[in-house]
Symmetry: D2
Subunit: 135 residues, 4 copies
């Protein structure tokens, strides 16, 4: 297992939500989750929290794919369509920028019909400095 896969395997929060790791590569990751009834909010649709968690997990795998321990410094999310019970959601993270200790990742969460559920953008911070880091 790569360091990112080991990190994912040890991610109890992702396991609690039933998140599966489908793909991982240098600076990218795809994860998926099915909306359970304990993920619904008081309006009967999927709470923003599990949707954020799914996107954040894809982001975490992608930004740790290079090796050094990297954490989320900040993230933003735009909710575009509601997700419903039993929807299968996929989150695809793509690295947009990386230099020194800072990285920028875009994550798109979609449902099985290909409709966008949320667009997420995460800023990462590498805690253990890599040898070529300059910031």
């Amino acid at each position: 297992m790569s360091p990112a896969e080991e990190m994912f395997a040890a991610d109890a929060s992702a396991a609690m939500l039933g998140i599966e790791l489908l793909e991982v590569g240098a600076g990218r990751a795809i994860v998926a989750m099915t909306v359970r009834d304990d993920m619904l909010n008081g309006h009967g649709t999927c709470h923003g929290g599990p949707i954020f968690s799914l996107a954040d997990t894809a982001f975490a795998v992608a930004c740790n794919s290079h090796g050094p321990i990297t954490v989320a410094a900040a993230a933003s999310v735009d909710f575009l369509n509601p997700a419903a019970f039993d929807d299968r959601l996929t989150a695809t993270a793509t690295e947009k920028f990386r230099r020194g200790r800072t990285g920028l990742y875009d994550v798109i969460v979609s449902n099985d019909a290909g409709e966008p559920i949320a667009h997420f953008r995460g800023r990462s911070h590498t805690v253990a400095r890599s040898t070529d880091a300059s910031t």
Copy 2:
């Protein structure tokens, strides 16, 4: 129970995370959660997802405190300090702006030592238009 309290009582996702509603008022809410071992990430600290969920729940209660059904349109979060296993986290949501269908809410997540864990900002959208809404 007020509409916001009813909505919270029906929030299965908040219940799954053990989130408690401590206070609710017009445009504001305080909720709390204790970090469980199934909320930890692969680095052994609290995953960003449950922290976001806690803040998002405070935001949801606050923005639904006025009555009409209101959902999150967008949110951003800055992670400031890690949260550890068994930390008691409190999220305090405050309304900063509301006009027509749009609202802006700031949420501060802190631990028991009073240290800031995250600052969250949420933009709400009222789905069921209130009678005086103009946008």
Copy 3:
């Protein structure tokens, strides 16, 4: 001239910064600007304000390309590399989502060497409701 081009032609703020419209299409726009000495900050690099203005202008043209009057509701920007005096900056806006009155646009600002200067994300709100708008 299309409505978006007319809007750009009437944009005194863009003119003041010397912003040129290079391309416009349905949901997309490319604009450019050269960093002048009156755009530098106290550290001697380009102030974040003109970089934001450039991205915001591309966003405005793109989100008004469909006709109805549309304004920025919110925006975020990540500054990735500094821009220097006399740098030629290009901002490319792409529509990521649009439904009813809401749109989401990503804008990438680059210099002539192709290095990313900033990633911008804007959320638009259509003021004059289009006939098929439902939110």
Copy 4:
């Protein structure tokens, strides 16, 4: 002059917009600007760019008030009310968090009637490490 005041005095971009520094203190700043006709957009209201610039300038002064050279890493802005020609806008920046090289600042832009125009949140990065910085 303090280092932040010196930085502001050398800020050609702020000068170009007629931004005045009203107050500066440890981690805080107040600046003001009057909306000119060359700040209007194609819809006849103040362009988001100068509003962002005003908020960003307050942020820059506040985050440089501690001495070491500090730059904006990221910022987000929510536009709440339009600003019109000749409106006098004030931006008040407050430090919310600072540790090591990272800071978080909230800026509120208001008009003379006390109406909120925009809420801005900036994340700063200290380039020249201060002696007690640990991240």
